[in-house]
């Protein structure tokens, strides 16, 4: 069975009969399930091109479905529903509604690059996962993932100062995702850390949270980076026809 037909044997799509006799043979119950004929009409033909237009998605067309990515995947070993090979298939077929069933877990790729290491076609599945997660957010299918919030907080700090000061990044991330900073395990960790540290080092760490380390003469680089990011975002919006999407939504709202 081709893998996109997986949907047909999901429990909710199965047809079972309490009492069915065909040509004198009792085929009642679950084992004699019948699949109804169907026509798929809702292919999204633009989806593959749109994902390929986002950073990381460039090489999705090379995939020949060997499954090495899923086979080597760190996250798949924890959660079987995390299946890069299947998603690449759905994207290339344009089966958007099927892909959306997994929309809330695609961002969980940990970027370990085992898939990229194993892939015989240089698809860079890790990049495709990032591009797909990004596509889902840009199209409004999912809210920004915690991971995307983290990436943004992180990048903003680098653009501003050239460097990362970890405690500041962590505090901003927790604030942006509305989480309390002082979780039980965090307190325990800090306690264990403080047990052996000399006063001098504590002072140094404390100071870093007030005075951010920064790269000097950074403003030129900061301006150049921000300008480039803005340009890229504008290109992506165009590639994904986001302004049209907004127009349609606004017209719908008005009507």
């Amino acid at each position: 069975m081709p893998i996109h037909e997986k949907s047909l044997i999901r429990p909710e799509n199965l047809q079972t009969h309490d009492e069915l006799i065909l040509d004198g043979v009792d085929v009642s119950g679950h084992w004699s399930t019948f699949i109804e004929s169907r026509v798929v009409k809702d292919y999204n033909e633009a989806m593959e091109d749109e994902i390929a237009a986002l950073p990381g998605g460039e090489y999705i067309h090379r995939c020949w479905q060997c499954g090495s990515c899923t086979n080597s995947c760190t996250v798949h070993a924890i959660n079987e529903d995390f299946n890069p090979r299947f998603w690449i298939y759905l994207i290339r077929m344009g089966m958007e509604s099927e892909l959306l069933r997994d929309k809330d877990i695609i961002w969980q790729c940990v970027s370990c690059n085992k898939c990229t290491y194993a892939c015989p076609r240089d698809v860079v599945p890790e990049g495709v996962m990032k591009a797909t997660a990004h596509w889902l957010e840009l199209k409004g299918h999912t809210p920004k993932s915690p991971s995307m919030h983290f990436d943004e907080v992180f990048t903003e700090q680098i653009v501003a100062t050239g460097k990362i000061e970890e405690s500041r990044t962590i505090r901003r991330f927790f604030k942006r995702t509305n989480q309390g900073l002082m979780q039980d395990w965090m307190i325990e960790m800090v306690k264990r850390m403080l047990k052996h540290l000399p006063i001098g080092m504590l002072t140094r760490m404390g100071l870093a949270t007030f005075v951010a380390p920064r790269t000097s003469n950074w403003s030129g680089a900061a301006g150049a980076i921000q300008e480039y990011i803005d340009e890229q975002h504008a290109d992506q919006e165009k590639a994904l026809s986001l302004s049209e999407l907004i127009d349609v939504a606004q017209k719908d709202a008005a009507a």
Partner: protein, 310 residues
């Protein structure tokens, strides 16, 4: 084995983590460098390499950030070799090197940004980027290390943990998998080699290059805790007393989620986590505090005392 003289004086790129959570790695790297007579010249006014996050906003910005560090080393300091102890920094500099040599578009973006930022554009091939493991392995070598060991790690059972970024993806590390003496991307062994020379017993550890979930350590904490638990348990089952690390993100991830596993999942795995530079430092006769052992969360001072090493 011949040692490389050009690694005796290198540009040192500590990176952001080594000024924060990875402070003990910074301290121990500098301490063993001094002890071994190797000179580290810190890259002037360096910036973040982009870590694991910036590429998700835009990969070419990450390439630019990494290229700026190499540009400073090459054009402002006249250095040939940049040594980065952090896997993330090491990986990103290697990736930038690869992209600049093979992708014209990346090179054009880096050139444009460098000009606007007001510094010389880095040209691929100007510097060689190495990891702290390459540095010790090639500048000193196992034989050189053996001669200098004062407190052998004799009897210490170690699981060597290399993580993701040191070997993957393969194409950005052309010098690996290059025949006898080179590092392997599927079964890395440089850390094993060095610690063995220091007297330790390396256990057969199957998760050397497994992922600790570092990229999502805070944004998907349960996933990271599960992945770290796999690593801690596998190391323990392999008979190890210590997990040796060579990356601040892996190291902090293992320590953090060791605590989190205990508090949130109720699973306690008793195993020590130490940087390979700390272990080498102790073997070279340095005081544990000198290599920041007291800064580790997994309290290793007592462990070293039991082993007669402190």
């Amino acid at each position: 084995m011949t040692t490389k003289d050009k690694y005796k004086k290198v540009a040192y790129y500590p990176g952001c983590a080594l000024e924060g959570t990875g402070h003990a790695y910074n301290r121990s790297t500098k301490a063993i460098g001094k002890e071994l007579g190797l000179e580290l010249v810190e890259v002037k006014n360096w910036n973040c390499c982009g870590a694991m996050e910036v590429k998700n906003i835009d990969p070419k910005i990450q390439t630019y950030l990494s290229s700026r560090v190499m540009s400073v080393a090459a054009n402002e300091m006249d250095m040939d070799v940049v040594m980065a102890p952090c896997n993330g920094c090491y990986h990103n500099l290697k990736k930038a090197e690869y992209d600049l040599a093979n992708d014209g578009e990346s090179a054009a973006v880096v050139d444009r940004l460098s000009k606007k930022a007001g510094h010389k554009t880095y040209e691929s091939g100007q510097v060689e980027t190495i990891h702290a493991l390459d540095w010790i392995k090639d500048a000193i070598g196992e034989d050189g290390l053996r001669e200098r060991v004062k407190n052998s790690l004799n009897g210490m059972k170690i699981a060597n943990y290399y993580g993701c970024m040191y070997t993957r993806p393969r194409h950005i590390f052309p010098e690996k998998d290059a025949g006898p003496g080179s590092e392997s991307t599927s079964k890395p062994h440089f850390m094993d080699d060095l610690l063995e020379a220091a007297g330790a017993e390396n256990v057969d550890f199957p998760l050397k290059t497994a992922c600790c979930g570092g990229a999502h350590t805070l944004s998907d904490s349960d996933m990271s805790t599960k992945l770290v638990l796999n690593i801690l348990k596998a190391a323990k089952l392999s008979g190890a007393e210590v997990i040796a690390t060579e990356c601040p993100t892996c190291h902090t991830g293992l320590e953090m989620h060791q605590v989190r596993a205990e508090k949130v999942f109720g699973e306690k795995v008793e195993i020590k986590i130490m940087y390979f530079t700390q272990l080498l430092g102790v073997a070279l006769g340095l005081k544990p505090k000198k290599v920041g052992v007291h800064e580790n969360i997994s309290d290793s001072m007592k462990f070293l005392k039991q082993k007669g090493l402190a």
